[in-house]
């Protein structure tokens, strides 16, 4: 028996359906026009170089804002509107609904003039000045910090170097052990001459990072997903959602060269949180200096930051109050899935409010 029974008439029908969906869906694509992202109202409250610190407006009906502000530190890779990508899928909205006074750092798009920015400039410079701004504005000694992915690693470094300014620390999909066996990105970067790359390019182009991320699952991410998309084309809302994600995926800022050099060498190549040797502003980062409560959230199907890479944080800090939250989803789903809206953000808000 031949196991594939695709008769010409059936194949023709499939083709006809495919082209019909494509054609009808074109209307929705044409009507999609500009793609809005970052839906919650916010105000710029502080800026420095290309950095803008935003404060989100408290929505009507939200509980009274907590006295301790929450600062979100996003990764330098991709753009932070992932946390607020659409009305019904917004981590920011979820946090506001729990009474958090939410601030977010938008790093902007570094260009060649920012090439010489170091990790020290980001951690002890930009983040520290944003934190000081919040401490002074709110009249508090310490603030709450929420770090996302690479921003989580930044938040860990910051909390270790400035424990007197952090009341609670939340890390989301944050790499801590950069050399777990299932970390493909880490395996690939071991043989790359980072000095040569940074010396050559100055800044590391977003396209190079995109290529790397797409190479993790090239057939699904650059082929199959467009076939799947055809099935969604008849629903204008789904088309817009897809286009929002597409925009986010390819909206990749270049990476400031010196920061990239140090981050890759110290962490991806030398696994600095575990092995030590990360020095910023003349001081070595030691996670044992973190004493505040820590909530560590990771995604069980994360192919960029495997769960074990995040779970390694347990036991590395001196915090007597360490909590883990495992989310059954992926690296992006933890922000945009319907399930995350119901489970993750309320849990963060509850955890913070209790502390």
């Amino acid at each position: 028996m031949f196991p594939i029974d695709i008769r010409p008439d059936k194949l023709t029908q499939e083709m006809l359906d495919y082209s019909r969906k494509l054609g009808q869906g074109m209307e929705n694509l044409l009507n999609a026009k500009s793609i809005d992202t970052g839906v919650s109202p916010k105000q710029p409250v502080y800026s420095e170089d290309k950095l803008v610190l935003y404060r989100y407006d408290r929505p009507e009906g939200a509980p009274e804002a907590q006295p301790v502000p929450l600062l979100i530190v996003y990764a330098l890779v991709n753009r932070p509107y992932m946390t607020d990508i659409q009305e019904d899928r917004s981590t920011i909205k979820g946090l506001l609904a729990t009474g958090q006074d939410v601030y977010l750092i938008d790093w902007g798009y570094p260009d060649q003039a920012d090439r010489a920015l170091t990790l020290d400039d980001y951690i002890n410079g930009y983040i520290d000045r944003c934190v000081d701004y919040l401490r002074e504005t709110h009249g508090v000694d310490k603030i709450n910090l929420l770090g996302i992915c690479q921003g989580g690693a930044f938040s860990l470094m910051y909390s270790a170097l400035h424990p007197d300014k952090v009341r609670n620390l939340v890390t989301m999909v944050t790499p801590v052990d950069f050399k777990t066996p299932d970390n493909l990105l880490s395996a690939w970067v071991q043989n790359i001459d980072i000095d040569l790359a940074v010396d050559t390019m100055g800044n590391i182009p977003g396209e190079l990072l995109n290529w790397t991320f797409l190479s993790l699952k090239p057939f699904s991410l650059t082929g199959q997903k467009y076939v799947n998309m055809v099935d969604l084309l008849d629903d204008p809302d789904k088309v817009k959602n897809f286009l929002r994600m597409e925009k986010w995926i390819f909206d990749s800022p270049d990476q400031a060269g010196e920061t990239f050099r140090q981050f890759i060498k110290d962490f991806y190549q030398n696994n600095g949180f575990l092995n030590g040797g990360v020095v910023l502003g003349g001081r070595e980062v030691n996670l044992k200096d973190i004493t505040c409560p820590v909530l560590n959230i990771f995604a069980l199907q994360d192919h960029l930051v495997p769960p074990d890479a995040s779970k390694a944080l347990k036991g590395l800090t001196s915090s007597p109050d360490y909590t883990e939250l495992a989310f059954p989803g992926g690296h992006i789903g933890i922000y945009v899935s319907g399930k995350a809206q119901k489970e993750v953000t309320p849990a963060i808000g509850k955890w913070l409010n209790e502390r």
């Binding site: 031949f2 701004y133 395996a187």
Partner: protein, 357 residues
């Protein structure tokens, strides 16, 4: 033609007729001489269809739609390949036929199947996706379209080029000659690295065909059949992704991947040196000089910000001692409305050269 009447019922009816006539053609094409047929009427139909629609589509949506078209072709191509064999299966041993189909796919990867550049070759172009990604990325970083060194002859000239490049430069232009030799060496190394990287994908293609074979065997053992192009395509993607995931997790792949990126960077660096030399000769600022300035400026700004921070801290302490509020606002206050974060304008090359062409 406006967007509101582009896809009305009449147009779709015309479409249906077009596909119906294709069905007839397709049936006729599945005669005894199927093996020699290299035309794919459905592919021509899809192209024709897209040609009619494309002018009404804005540029931004067009590239998006083209991706869906191209992937649509990929999965119909796969179905087409197998369904033709299914037709033969009525009169022959089914097991042998699908085995032969898989063998043909493997041969295609090794380049030993001559199908006049049609059918199977284009089906296999699906496996060019990872390489295509590399090429697009290269194109965005290069002043040249695509990856210009990709198809440049390499092996046959390697020895003679090596010899020529090892000859020392002479005379007044010795240094310049030496730099061009270094550039050529870097180009050759990049090309060799790219060749090695490409070879990985050839091997990977064969491994995914093996996986597909195992999957189909599983279907046979279960007594079921695959009856839609989409199911076939989804399983083919799953097989490719599984074979790929296994291979790229090996230390050998990491070495090859690293070699490719390093070779590309080394070549680009050599080019930059030559560009800087020429800019210097024209009395223009060079990239190297700009970087020195950037480093010094950043150092100055860093010191400046640290001093401002210390000053503010001192002012607060003094004010606290005097029992007063600080006289000036913290240096962190927003001085002017922050501009919306905008990506710096960068050159983006959008022209794509299809590696399968």
């Amino acid at each position: 033609m406006t967007s509101t009447n582009l896809f009305n019922d009449d147009w779709l009816e015309l479409q249906r007729k077009y596909w119906d006539s294709w069905t007839d053609m397709s049936r006729k094409a599945m005669g005894p001489d199927t093996e020699t047929k290299t035309t794919t009427p459905w592919e021509a139909a899809m192209d024709q269809w897209w040609k009619a629609m494309a002018p009404a589509v804005p540029d931004l949506s067009r590239s998006f739609m083209e991706k869906m078209m191209e992937q649509g072709k990929n999965f119909f191509r796969l179905a087409d390949t197998f369904s033709k064999r299914a037709d033969e299966g009525k009169a022959a041993n089914g097991f042998e036929l699908w085995t032969k189909t898989l063998e043909d796919m493997q041969k295609r990867f090794t380049g030993s199947l001559d199908d006049s550049g049609n059918g199977m070759q284009r089906l296999m172009s699906f496996w060019e996706l990872p390489l295509d990604n590399w090429q697009r990325m290269m194109s965005s970083l290069s002043p040249m379209p695509g990856d210009v060194l990709r198809n440049m002859p390499h092996d046959q000239f390697k020895d003679s080029l090596d010899r020529a490049l090892s000859a020392p430069g002479l005379g007044y232009t010795r240094e310049e000659q030496s730099q061009y030799q270094e550039l050529m060496r870097s180009a050759m190394e990049y090309q060799a690295a790219l060749q090695e990287y490409t070879n990985v994908y050839t091997q990977l293609g064969m491994k995914s065909v093996e996986r597909m074979g195992s999957y189909i065997q599983g279907v046979i053992d279960s007594g079921k059949t695959i009856d839609s192009a989409r199911a076939l395509y989804d399983n083919w993607v799953a097989c490719c992704e599984a074979a790929y995931a296994e291979e790229v997790a090996t230390p050998e792949y990491a070495r090859i991947h690293g070699r490719l990126v390093n070779a590309q960077m080394a070549l680009k660096k050599r080019m930059s040196i030559l560009v800087d030399e020429n800019l210097g000769a024209l009395n223009m600022p060079t990239r190297s000089e700009l970087r020195t300035l950037q480093d010094r400026l950043q150092e100055t700004r860093r010191e400046n910000k640290a001093l401002r921070h210390s000053l503010h801290d001192l002012e607060r302490r003094v004010a606290a001692l005097a029992g007063e509020e600080p006289a000036i606002k913290p240096a962190t206050a927003l001085r002017s409305p922050a501009p919306a974060a905008a990506k710096a304008p960068v050159r983006r090359r959008t022209t794509k050269t299809n590696p399968a062409d």
